[in-house]
Amino acid sequence: MAVLTKRTVVTIPRINILSIVFFACFYAYVWMVIEPYLIYYGFGIIVEYPEFSTGWGFFKGHLSHVSGLLEYVTGFLSHMFYYSWFGALTITAIAWLLSVGTVRLMRLSGTVKSNFIRYIPALFVLMMFNHYNNPLYTCLGILAGLWASILYEKISPKNIAGSIFIFIISLGVLYYIVGGGASIVFVLISGICVVLVEGKRLIGGSNLLVGTLMIFLFGIYLSPMSPTEAFFGMIGFEKSPEWSLELIPEICLYLFLPVLAAAVGLRDNLSSHKTGRADHKKSSSGKKSGSKKLRPVFQTAALAMAFFVTVFYSFDSRAKLKCRTIYLDRQEKWYGVMELISQLSSQNYNLFHNHFLNKALYFSGQLGDKMFFFPQQSESFLLSSKAGKGLKEFVGCHIFLRLGQVNLAEKKTHEIMENTGEHPQILKLLAQINIVKNQPETARMYLKALSKNLIYGGQGKDLLARLNEDPHQNTDPEVMHLRSIMLQTDSHFPDNMTEKLLLELFNDNTSNRMAFEYLMGHYLISGRLEKFANNISRLKDLNFNKIPVHYAEGILTYQSITGKKINMQGLIIPPEIIEEFKIFEEIHDDYKDKQTAAKALKARFGRCYYYYYTFYGTDIIP
């Protein structure tokens, strides 16, 4: 008589201490070191701006196209980077879900212990965010592909027709939600698992074939592009078509899970061919007991090492610095900008830092006194050349408005919007420009769009309410100031002619102090001392009650070279500056070799204009 025994397997969830520690460290690192709010501030400048807007219309727009829902969620979560703790939580949650998914994937093939492998996707995620990119779209897509595969394994019926039917439905739904990239992950993982793990070659093979064909046909049918363009576009590479090392973690993450599924499946197959699955498990468990005590120690050490190696080699400190500078500039924390930039090594210092620095110096009233404490380039004021397009335009439009070139600010802002999208800073700036131009109806349009922004929506509504109360904003001091310096005399030359643009502003309105200081700074940097000297008399008109240090140094340099006197309208150069200049000249005359002189004088005079002029600007005729 057959005895029927019923066995119930109860799985007690084990607390994986190592995993908790790993993800706690992961969270802390992302929150405290990467600081996701800095990624937010890099949107539109360093990385593409992820469009997101509240309201039904925006959501509806995303329902109408493939991967729209993934874009919508990516947009929402990306904007939430503004809150660092939440951004870190999002990134950690993605990494954790990838890790759990990896474990599940391995368990599908009977591999109970996943050990270190489970953390690899998390490390790839970390590497991507270490570059201050925004790989959320890719990460979420792969995550969806992975979990869809796991779900499919659980629900697929035994028979071929049912299995393929469920597969096609799942793929269709997944394709609509997340697009082609994640769908490929799903097709590969589920196909490989069915073939290699379950041994159902016909179903698995069919899934792989049908899935690939479906994605290919979707790509061709739904996209007006060529099949190749459509294929690469849908797996998310159309946005960064140029090859760079930063793409490696992304590609690795794409490949990792299908390769893992294949590796685990193949190992499983080979093992069961040799000894049978039970024996294999037995022997492997026997092996474990031998090194059981030491294993956690090794694991922890290996994991810690992998974590630190990943962090060390992939962290992009330059990108972080750039993002932080943008953040501080946006917050108008001028002293913060100066402090940050003063810590930079000369390799990391570039035109953008120079631009932000000069802006911070101007707004803290120190441009004429401290600008030569730092390396200077004449293009830095208006970013008139050399600069990278995105940052140049983004930053340029702000500075043009501040200077009073309101029309050119409007032009630049629209251009950046064409490339970037509805970035809240751009919407706010366009509203401000139109308020200054006394076009409240137009400003209202931009503020209404700003009101729908997840982060700046409240600010948009406040500004809109203020505009509704007082459409001309005649009581707002900033608006009134900008109107007072706004260019009134029309002209039409290109916006990359720094001197001409600044002169135009200053000639139009001689009380435009920013235009004056930038113009004088530009003359000093480019060594045009004659023009500099000609404008010194304007200091009095602009209510300078003392001569800025670098101006004084410039005057002394000019007088020393030309022997001409400058009318300073009663302003006096402090005697200590004159004394220092004399000492500089005396020491300088003692050296015949220019390089030796530069080295010798740098410690004492390296922050003086005449030092800059003598050793960096000697090829420029005054």
């Binding site: 329902l63 996209s223 029309n407 076009q439």
Partner: protein, 519 residues
């Protein structure tokens, strides 16, 4: 995870998606309310868009609007002599009519008045009834579709150009082709043969696939090995006249309108479809003049275009000297399509007579009127705040300002409906920056009605949209050619080789190609 819980999750995801789709398609219906007492206010209510005092086509989609009056409840009743009144209640002031009921109401009342009563409930004071809005439902329908180009406020970069079509009866927009699908290409200068959506010419240019013209006919698209500028089909469909030009944009540092455009050089040419050959003639390729914006008379016997003298020596300087004095004359030249022969060039209306630059001539299909825009100077009316629409009576040659349709802002890119009773045009009203599409009724004597903006399903659509609508063209139905078909043609290496027996229309500097650099 058990198989059962797997199923549950799967169906949950399906349910969420189904809900999202349902919610997306669903529009909320409004509850009827009864107002027993109300106070009467003699002032009309503030509504946006302004749909008051206008003449509307009997087949237009719902004119949805937002009431900008403070209140906690809004009730609107739209009615006419016949049919069931439409009633909408809203707590926010957004008034969106049922499309089906709206169409029914209009369809039974052509030639009659449409009344819109607006009640606003204010806190503590009960309901207030404003002076009602009275519109007229015209007897003549409007063409059911309009095709146009959408861009963002444009300066130097174009990443998002697209040609759309709008179903005017159902307030639905659909895409014909977008440049972003082709490496941020620019799509422009769409032109339909006799309002037929199946036969069109469309220009495109981008860095990967170059610059050419797409010729769509009977569902297929061919690429022509030549780029057309402003294009006009001969009514026979045998010839397309087009402009070739070197047009440049520059920027004003201290004017309300930042942008300005000047043609440094231009000329006309024409393409014979059956012979696949492009030609020109010295009459409209004069090196001392700038000829552009051609249009055929409805009988096909004349080609009209605008032309201005070149007022500068240096053709490379930007902006050139005297750019603010460039005014275009309206010219015409007779043509025999059977023999491909041109007659004598005539000045039909000169800038000297009007004191303004005459641009974008467009005929009413019955041949009675020509619509033009006139502005102080320039070839590009939309960047000129002075630009207004003028109607030329082709029988008398007299021209008049379309006062009812014009505004204080730029008006341009206009066109007639196939029955000659409706015009569509781009206007920068009300704020002077964003170009929108407006319609106006033109009666048999040439009198226009107050213009109204193209209606949208979303009543507040225009309050936060800064898309620019231009180059509208009425069409008799939807363009059914898919983006995929356009894409195939754009990517295709096969192109119709066009014989061009002239080097370029206007002599120019060596190595320089006359082409479209900006529209």
């Amino acid at each position: 995870m058990s198989r059962r819980s797997g199923y549950l999750i799967f169906f949950f995801i399906l349910a969420v998606i189904a809900f999202c789709v349902w919610y997306g398609l669903h529009t909320f219906s409004s509850d009827p309310v009864t107002i027993e007492e109300y106070a009467q206010v003699s002032a009309p209510p503030k509504i946006k868009p302004d749909y008051s005092g206008i003449v509307i086509p009997p087949n237009i989609g719902p004119l949805n609007f937002v009431i900008h009056e403070p209140g906690t409840g809004y009730y609107v009743k739209a009615y006419s002599a016949e049919g069931t009144p439409l009633k909408v209640y809203s707590k926010t002031g957004r008034i969106e009519f049922s499309r089906r009921k709206w169409q029914k109401l209009l369809s039974v009342n052509p030639g009659k008045k449409l009344y819109i009563d607006i009640y606003v409930k204010s806190k503590g004071n009960g309901w207030v009834r404003h002076e009602n809005i009275v519109n007229t439902i015209a007897e003549e329908p409007i063409d059911p579709y309009v095709a146009y180009r959408i861009i963002n406020p444009l300066y130097n970069f174009t990443n998002n150009t697209a040609i759309h079509q709008y179903d005017l009866e159902n307030n639905k927009e659909s895409l014909i082709i977008k440049g972003k699908s082709f490496y941020s290409g620019c799509v422009n200068c769409h032109s339909f043969l006799n309002y037929d959506p199946e036969t069109m010419l469309l220009g495109f240019r981008n860095i990967v696939y170059g610059m050419s013209t797409l010729f769509a006919s009977n569902g297929r698209v061919k690429k022509l090995g030549i780029k057309f500028g402003h294009t006009s089909w001969h009514p026979s469909g045998k010839v397309a006249a087009y402009s070739i030009y070197r047009v440049k944009q520059f920027f004003h540092h201290a004017r309300r309108e930042v942008r300005d455009v000047v043609e440094l050089d231009s000329a006309l040419a024409y393409y014979l479809l059956d012979k696949q050959v492009a030609k020109t003639t010295p009459e409209f390729a004069d090196k001392e003049r700038l000829e552009t914006q051609p249009v055929w008379s409805p009988d096909g016997k004349y080609l009209y275009f605008v032309s201005a003298p070149v007022l500068w020596e240096n053709r490379k300087k930007l902006p050139p000297e005297n750019f603010e004095k460039v005014q275009y004359d309206l010219m015409r030249i007779s043509y025999d399509v059977e023999t491909d022969t041109w007659g004598k060039l005539e000045t039909f209306l000169s800038a000297e007579q009007t004191g303004k630059s005459i641009l974008i001539p467009r005929f009413s299909p019955d041949g009675r009127f020509m619509l033009v825009s006139m502005c102080d100077y320039s070839c590009f009316a939309l960047f000129q705040p002075s630009s207004d629409l003028y109607l030329i009576d082709m029988e008398t040659g007299k021209y008049s300002d379309l006062e009812e349709a014009n505004s204080n802002h730029s008006e341009a890119w206009h066109g007639f409906s196939s029955n000659s009773r409706w015009i569509v045009f781009s206007s920068k009203r009300p704020e002077g920056v964003f170009t929108r599409l407006y319609f106006s009724y033109i009666d048999k004597t040439g009198k226009s009605s107050k213009a109204f903006i193209m209606p949208q399903s979303d009543a507040s659509f225009y309050e936060s949209s800064y898309r620019i609508y231009n180059v509208p063209e009425f069409i008799s139905g939807p363009v059914k050619i898919s983006q995929k078909e356009f894409g195939r043609a754009i990517r295709s290496k096969d192109e119709v080789k066009v014989e061009i027996p002239f080097s370029t229309a206007t002599p120019q500097a060596p190595g320089e190609t006359l082409q479209l650099e900006r529209e």
